[in-house]
């Protein structure tokens, strides 16, 4: 029970939990049975409706959509990183005009729905005489939108670096750009890798919106293919949902893994302390990381998934210093108590 709310239970509490467990399992079974029954009576479980998804040619077609999804997500990611990076630097610039323009850009694209940005990328460019097709329009829109988001991650990443790093660099006589290039950015980038992977997961989800301009990602392929015409909507969207789920879940998992690795390596002493611990502790730690990741995701603002509100991030970074200290203390105490 990873919660401050729940005390260690006494015998009566344990008995209650047992009863609640049994009741909730029963309720769960009843609900599940109802759903299956409803699906059955609505004729959704007949094999004919699912069979199209076992035909390799159909699956190949659907997986082609997955490839398209990944293609657009990767392309958008690469350009978003590059452009977002420059906007981050722009926002940290000492020139007020540059700063102002960057702020305007970032704030504009952070405050409109992605779908509107996609329409701008498609209809807008078309009206401007640029008939670039669905893929390019979609990537342009995703880049415009995500570079704004990423620039905030970058800015927070750069700012969150210990001020000591800057001071140390300046102390040995480095000037602004060499300092950025040699000292600050490499560290900032390393620190941002998990956030970037997490953003890639979000991006993959967002590619689905390319649907509205006819981009052949998974959803469009899943619903429009003649090979699936025997299948109903329910089946098609369930399968499409599963495909997306696996993709996004794996990317999120990777992001979490990277973040965890980074944490353990950066805490150092904490990692040493874990040395003696068993698997359970590591599981607990990953649970904690899970919670932290979620917290971060929540704090990251924008879209639930779409990362990072600058303020929260910056504040988060500041608080993190504090909590880390507290946690270190607490952890220390806990461990001691644990061994007591």
């Amino acid at each position: 029970m990873s919660s401050v709310l729940i005390e260690e239970l006494g015998p009566r509490g344990k008995a209650r939990v047992r009863v609640a467990t049994i009741i909730s399992i029963l309720v769960g079974i009843v609900l599940l049975a109802l759903v299956v029954w409803k699906l059955g009576t609505a004729g959704q479980l007949t094999w004919a409706k699912w069979e199209p998804f076992t035909v390799w040619a159909n699956l190949e077609f659907l997986l082609g959509g997955l490839v398209n999804t990944i293609k657009a997500a990767l392309a958008a990611m690469v350009f978003s990183i590059i452009i977002g990076f420059f906007f981050a630097l722009g926002r940290l610039s000492r020139n007020a005009v540059v700063r102002g323009l960057c702020v305007a850009y970032v704030e504009f694209f952070r405050s409109i729905p992605l779908l509107l940005a996609i329409f701008m990328g498609f209809f807008g460019l078309l009206a401007a005489g640029l008939d670039v097709g669905a893929f390019t329009s979609l990537v342009v829109a995703l880049v415009a939108y995500n570079s704004a988001v990423l620039s905030e991650i970058f800015r927070a990443g750069i700012k969150s670096l210990d001020k000591g790093q800057t001071e140390a660099a300046q102390a040995i006589g480095m000037r602004y750009w060499p300092m950025m290039r040699i000292v600050i950015l490499p560290q900032a980038v390393r620190r941002m890798v998990p956030a970037i992977v997490a953003q890639l997961a979000t991006l993959s989800k967002d590619v689905s919106l390319g649907f509205v301009i006819g981009y052949e990602e998974v959803v469009r392929r899943g619903q429009g293919f003649p090979g699936f015409s025997d299948a109903g909507n329910f089946q098609a969207y369930v399968v499409v949902g599963v495909v997306y789920f696996i993709l996004v879940w794996m990317l999120a998992r990777l992001a979490r893994y990277l973040e965890l690795r980074q944490r353990t390596s950066s805490i150092g002493t904490g990692a040493a302390a874990i040395d003696g611990a068993g698997l359970e502790d590591i599981a607990a730690l990953s649970e904690e990381a899970d919670a932290a990741e979620v917290e971060a995701a929540a704090a990251r603002g924008e879209d639930p998934d779409r990362v990072v509100d600058s303020q929260t991030r910056a504040r988060g970074a500041a608080e993190e210093q504090g909590t880390k200290l507290n946690e270190a203390r607490k952890g220390d105490r806990d461990r001691r108590r644990g061994r007591d």
Partner: protein
């Protein structure tokens, strides 16, 4: 340019009203679902915890578009047919609710165990502890992320156009087709979104300042 907006203001206004209605209903729903799911997630009853984790994982790893289509056409195939607006409100509420649950859970967990222990040590029972110590402290840490969720939820209402909800983004798209003034049509919606979000941002910042812990 101005004539364009004076001429089509009624269209934009209709769309804005739909968007606002959608966001109010879906966000209220998200709050309710969030509290329930978060409660499940921190409860000592294992099946409830598993259910809550499953719920959160499901909605966090699926595109909103798929959620909408499943809720509209998929559920419709099962014989449950609801109109576009109610479907969109519920689907969006359930989607944001998953994120809300995580925000609330992390808010509860952000209250240090020392605070709870101190409360127990002076004899506070479960409910008073929750009311006097945990919730007031959790609320403070949770306002900013909830504000962000609101903004996300607000922007996500646009996806409802795919199931025939005539909200603001739909209107701008409709105006493109009717007038062929592409950029004007799109900008009109963008400006309305920005203005509303500026206002929402101000509200949440004010709330945050009011409830900030003095340090």
């Amino acid at each position: 340019m101005l004539e364009f907006y004076t001429e089509y203001w009624p269209d934009y206004w209709d769309g804005t009203l739909v968007t606002l209605r959608l966001v109010v209903i879906s966000f209220t729903l998200a709050c309710i679902i969030g509290v329930i799911i978060a409660g499940f997630r921190v409860s000592p009853v294992p099946p409830l915890r598993s259910f809550a984790s499953g719920y959160v994982a499901l909605f966090r790893n699926m595109p909103l578009l798929v959620v909408f289509f499943l809720a509209f056409f998929g559920v419709g195939d099962l014989g449950f047919v609801f109109g576009p607006f109610p479907t969109a409100a519920v689907a969006l509420g359930m989607y944001t609710g998953a994120y809300m649950a995580e925000v609330i859970r992390s808010g509860i967990n952000s209250v240090s165990s020392g605070q709870a222990e101190a409360g127990r040590a002076i004899g506070l029972g479960f409910i008073p502890l929750l009311r006097e110590i945990v919730i007031p402290q959790a609320v403070r840490t949770v306002i900013a992320p909830i504000g962000n969720l609101f903004i996300a939820n607000f922007k996500n209402t646009a996806v409802a156009l795919t199931i025939s909800v005539f909200e603001l983004t739909y209107i701008s798209r409709k105006l493109i087709n009717e007038t062929a003034r592409t950029w004007l049509s799109l900008l009109g919606a963008a400006i309305i979104y920005t203005v509303i979000l500026l206002f929402a941002g101000w509200v949440f910042r004010t709330l945050e300042d009011r409830y900030a812990i003095k340090r």
